[in-house]
């Protein structure tokens, strides 16, 4: 349980800073730090067990069909990374409080930081790779927010976009790779994947899975050739850089490589790719770092280089190299975070990070300088710092590994990287703190203790790790290595001094040459500038431009603002694909015997055909079109009657009435005469596409209808009466078996009605108000008003219609009827009142609110479902029973009826809201005038009052 809490705490706590910022920056930072500290303490409670070799885990089944479980575990590797993430996170939280100025959005900053932290912890504690992928994507998103925190600068925006694009693409590759792994292994649980290394390595999919996963890891941890995004991410505030590039974001890639090490490594492919990429990255990063002018730029490329070092060690594939990698992860986190914070302090105090404008700061900022020297010495790999140990270890491993078919390539190139590594560390210290001051515009001084605290702690650790490695880190490194290699760790003892050996000789060589390089910096730099270096940023921009350009071109071609073009493209594509499917498979008529056709059916069918033709030919005469549509609806209802679908028939005819009224209402507002359209090619293409679509769908229907099939309805059929308590299976399916679907459907209807309400309210209140007030339909209406006979008849009809609706509703479970149908009948009865007696009058009589009906219906339907849950059944389980009521006798009541009541209310509300709102709109036009009289006789002014309903 507490494992889940460790992951969730940062996410939950992310709300706090956003709220606490109202109480000031201190409260905000303290809340963030408290959350962070709590998670760290919880984590450390697991440490003893993990160091003993246990690996606690928790599992909640989630989407089992997909293999996605909320499954967490913690082993040595996870513990180490989580401790780094939370520990350095805490220091960054403290540092940020003093770094960020008064005008910054500090609350947002801490919220983003905690979100990012939660996602990172999630990655390292996940025991399910799908869950891991979710957290992986979350880190990409959260880091986008963090890197782009200074969104007002173009560098901030571009850097954030680039980081998101590169790591996001890598994330996609990673998803594909992990899915492949899951398919091969048969499970997405990490523990099971880790136990199936042999299966995976022997699988024909291994190379694909490896390639895809490596792309994901390499993009995330900025390995060559994807390294270019990392330096641009330096546009972020310095605490973010310190966090993302020392212990978290880029380490996620390294973590995943380490996590997959037991199953993926050990093959020639892994060794060749991972070792080479790591080596090249280490080399390139170190060389470029030496020639950076920006302190953070130098540190960024140095980070690239050190990530390469870790990747290379994992590529070497021996447990010893893996242990060296673990040690370096710890050391790198300590010294790199410290140095980033240091660069931030220099920037804060002097206003610049340009090496060309800094210098001589030792006199002004002695403490800062001292801390920087300690951390830089660790970065350079000098004794007695922690960095020395891991660098020596790396050189030792490199010295006896054969790469690219030769013994000497790896040790030589590793030494070259060490030379540059020493040189850029020296340059950082010398450029910033020694030599003359080059810019005297400010008087820098050591910052307040708060800003110094975090880098000081980290620098102290950098020394301590070097002096007492075995005491402080021995068990941790062993436990993490155990987790990494998935078995017994190799025997080693951490010590500062291993005696004179090859690695020491290589180190000494590196120190000497590195010093020379700095001594002769100008000529070396001149040499460097003559080497043409491909610009990663340029290539990225070019690729992005190409992508955008081609998408835009395709978009313009297919979707250039013309609906006709767009639809024609889609329909043609569907026709081609469907035609291909027809061609490939048996598409003849099936063997099912056909039903007889009587003359009534033939006549009704003829009516439908005539109506279709009428709509097409005379659709510009809008009333004719509406009448023809009505005829078609009627024929469809009749077809349902004949073809054993009484529920559908009633629903269709009721909807038909409502739709016709709606269309007439809308026609009132739309232009009265439709121009002849401009047809490209005389409309031939349009006609061809239409006919082809008709033939295809018709034939598909025929081919379907003439084949026998096995219905899945048998189960519904058997269970309908005994379990659903209803004989009308259609209704039982709607309100019971598939009640959740219906619940969604009424939501859609309710939302559609609310959108209609919003669209029209917007017209009546917004800038269109004036246009509406001047608008008139331009038609002449009969001055005589509502016929008295109609008014009287509709009023008599109302109670009768309501009784019919109630009857349809109650019997719906057993016989054709139900909530949908009853709702439509009630709506029609109400609309009749509107039509006969006038909108204003009817509106005054109706005392309930349609919004409330929609919401109430949704609530009733939902409450029925939840009531079932309260009784310990799944959502929307129904129950029924027989009750003996006085007068009525034995009555069956099903809880599904309550659900149906919800359906009823929502549908009435939705239908009436849509229609009433269109009528409301009429009130706002120049023609409009509310008539509150129930009916009246020829009016004094001929123009002012007439019905707007059906007034076309």
């Amino acid at each position: 349980m507490s494992l889940l809490l460790i992951v969730l705490l940062p996410f939950l706590g992310a709300v706090l800073p956003a709220l606490m910022i109202r109480s000031g920056r201190d409260a905000c930072a303290i809340s963030a730090a408290a959350v962070n500290l709590l998670a760290l303490v919880l984590l450390l409670t697991h440490a003893p067990a993990v160091l003993r070799g246990e690996s606690p885990r928790v599992l909640w089944r989630w989407v089992e069909a997909l293999g996605l479980n909320l499954s967490l575990h913690i082993d040595g590797l996870g513990l180490l990374f989580a401790a780094l993430i939370l520990g350095i996170g805490l220091l960054v939280v403290i540092y940020s409080r003093f770094y960020l100025g008064r005008g910054e959005a500090v609350g947002n900053f801490y919220t983003y930081l905690l979100l990012f932290q939660g996602a990172m912890v999630g990655i390292v504690l996940s025991n399910n790779v799908l869950l891991l992928l979710v957290f992986w994507e979350l880190t990409s998103l959260a880091s986008f927010l963090l890197i782009g925190f200074w969104g007002h600068t173009s560098q901030g925006r571009q850097g954030a976009r680039m980081a998101l694009a590169v790591t996001g693409c890598g994330g996609l590759a990673l998803i594909a790779g992990m899915l492949l792994v899951g398919r091969v292994v048969g499970s997405y649980e990490l523990t099971e994947i880790l136990a199936s290394g042999d299966t995976l390595r022997r699988s024909p999919h291994y190379r694909w899975a490896l390639g895809l996963i490596l792309i994901g890891c390499f993009t995330k941890s900025a390995q060559f050739p994807f390294h270019f995004w990392l330096p641009h991410a330096m546009a972020a505030p310095t605490p973010v850089s310190a966090y993302l590039h020392s212990a978290t974001m880029v380490k996620a890639g390294v973590f995943l490589l380490a996590r997959m090490w037991p199953v993926m490594s050990g093959t020639q492919e892994w060794f060749d790719i991972v070792t080479s990429v790591g080596l090249i990255t280490m080399l390139i990063g170190a060389v470029i770092a030496l020639f950076q002018e920006d302190l953070k730029g130098l540190l960024a490329y140095s980070t690239v280089s050190h990530l390469g070092l870790m990747t290379m060690l994992l590529g070497i594939s021996t447990p010893m190299a893996a242990a060296a990698c673990v040690l370096h992860i710890i050391n790198h986190a300590a010294f790199k975070a410290s140095l980033f914070m240091n660069a931030g302090i220099i920037d804060h105090e002097t206003g610049t990070r340009e090496l060309g404008r800094l210098g001589g700061l030792l006199r002004w900022m002695p403490i800062t300088a001292g801390l920087a020297m300690i951390a830089a010495a660790s970065m350079a790999g000098l004794p007695p710092m922690g960095g020395f140990l891991s660098k020596e270890w790396m050189l030792e491993e490199a010295a006896h590994t054969k790469l690219w078919g030769a013994d000497w390539t790896l040790p030589l190139l590793a030494t070259v990287a060490a030379i540059f590594s020493f040189a850029y560390s020296l340059r950082y210290v010398r450029g910033a703190f020694f030599g003359p001051r080059r810019d005297n515009s400010t008087t820098p001084h050591d910052p307040k203790a708060g800003l110094r605290l975090a880098p000081a702690v980290l620098a102290a650790l950098a020394i301590a790790f070097g002096l007492f490695p075995e005491t402080l880190l021995g068990e941790v490194v062993r436990a993490a290595t155990r987790g990494l290699v998935g078995g017994a760790e190799p025997k080693f003892e951490l010590a500062l001094w291993h005696g004179p050996n090859r690695a020491l000789a290589m180190s000494l060589f590196a120190v000497v040459l590195g010093t020379l390089a700095i001594a002769a910096y100008r000529p070396v730099r001149r040499l460097w500038r003559q080497i043409p270096v491909p610009d990663g940023r340029g290539i990225f921009d070019w690729a992005l431009g190409l992508l955008f350009g081609s998408s835009r071109a395709i978009n313009e071609l297919l979707h250039g603002g013309s609906l006709r073009l767009y639809l024609t493209t889609m329909l043609t594509a569907v026709l081609v694909m469907g035609g291909w499917a027809f061609y490939r498979h048996d598409f003849g008529r099936g063997m099912r015997p056909l039903l007889e056709v009587g003359w009534v059916e033939g006549a009704v069918w003829g009516l439908l055909m005539i109506a279709c033709g009428l709509v097409v030919v005379s659709h510009r005469q809008r009333l004719v079109a509406v009448v023809a549509i009505g005829a078609i609806g009627l024929v469809v209802s009749l077809a349902f009657v004949r073809l054993s679908a009484p529920d559908l028939a009633i629903t269709q005819i009721a909807v038909e009435v409502v739709t016709l009224i709606l269309m007439l209402l809308a026609l009132y507002f739309l232009p009265k005469r439709l121009r002849q359209e401009q047809e490209p090619g005389g409309g031939l293409g349009r006609a061809l596409v239409s006919i082809a679509c008709g033939l295809a769908v018709g034939w598909l229907a025929f081919a379907t209808m003439t084949r026998d099939f096995e219905s899945i309805a048998g189960e519904y059929w058997r269970r309908s009466l005994p379990e659903g308590g209803g004989a009308n299976v259609v209704n039982v399916i709607i309100v019971d078996f598939r009640g959740f679907d219906t619940y969604g459907e009424i939501m859609v209807l309710g939302i559609a009605a609310l959108i209609i309400f919003g669209l029209i309210s917007g017209m009546m209140r917004g800038p269109l108000r004036g246009t509406l007030a001047r608008w008139t339909s331009g038609e002449h209406y009969s001055p005589s008003r509502h016929p008295l006979l109609m008014v009287v008849v509709t009023r008599l009809m109302l109670p009768l219609a309501l009784i019919v609706a109630a009857y349809l509703f109650v019997r719906g479970h057993q016989m054709p009827g139900g909530g949908f149908i009853a709702a439509l009948v009630v709506s029609i009865a109400l609309i009749m009142q509107y039509m006969a007696s006038g909108f204003g009058w009817a509106e005054d009589q109706i005392s309930f609110d349609y919004h409330a009906l929609i919401g109430g219906g949704a609530l009733v339907a939902g409450a029925t479902g939840i009531a079932a849950m309260a009784l310990g059944h799944p959502f929307l389980t129904s129950g029924f029973g027989h009750f003996h009521l006085p007068l009525l006798g034995d009555v069956e009541l099903a809880s599904a009826m309550a659900f149906d009541l919800g359906v009823f209310l929502t549908v009435v509300g939705g239908v009436m809201l849509a229609l009433a709102q269109l009528s409301n709109l009429g009130e706002c036009t120049r023609d409009g005038a509310t008539n509150s009289e129930p009916m009246d006789y020829p009016h004094t002014s001929g123009q002012g009052g007439h019905s707007r309903q059906g007034g076309d």
Partner: protein
């Protein structure tokens, strides 16, 4: 009977497609309506045609048709009313916003916004 239903579906689809390829909002809405009939009938027909066999439990020997397509179509009919209403209201609002009932944008969205001002 199958021939008739298939021909009806074909006719409704063809006329519906023809109308949604028009340039006027009202015509497109009518076309969508026709396509709705066609789709509902098609969906209904996947349960195969049967006469005098309503899906109501009664006599176990009596024939009965497949209730599932009917349940699907029933909700589809009601939802399609919501869709028709929404598209109609969008057509009305579009007419008042742009002064025309053309389904296509006049140009880039900025230009439309400028004209309104």
């Amino acid at each position: 009977m199958e021939w008739l239903v298939a021909a009806a579906i074909a006719a409704l689809t063809a006329s519906g497609v023809y109308l949604i390829l028009a340039q006027r909002t009202y015509t497109v809405v009518i076309g969508l309506g026709l396509l709705t009939y066609a789709t509902n009938l098609f969906l209904f027909a996947t349960g195969r045609l049967a006469v005098n066999a309503p899906p109501i439990v009664g006599d176990p020997q009596a024939p009965h048709t497949d209730p599932i397509p009917q349940a699907l179509v029933l909700t589809a009919i009601v939802i399609s009313f919501g869709m028709t209403a929404l598209t109609l209201v969008m057509a009305v609002r579009g007419y008042f916003e742009s002064g025309g009932d053309d389904v296509d944008l006049l140009g880039p969205e900025e230009e439309v916004a400028k004209e309104r001002r």
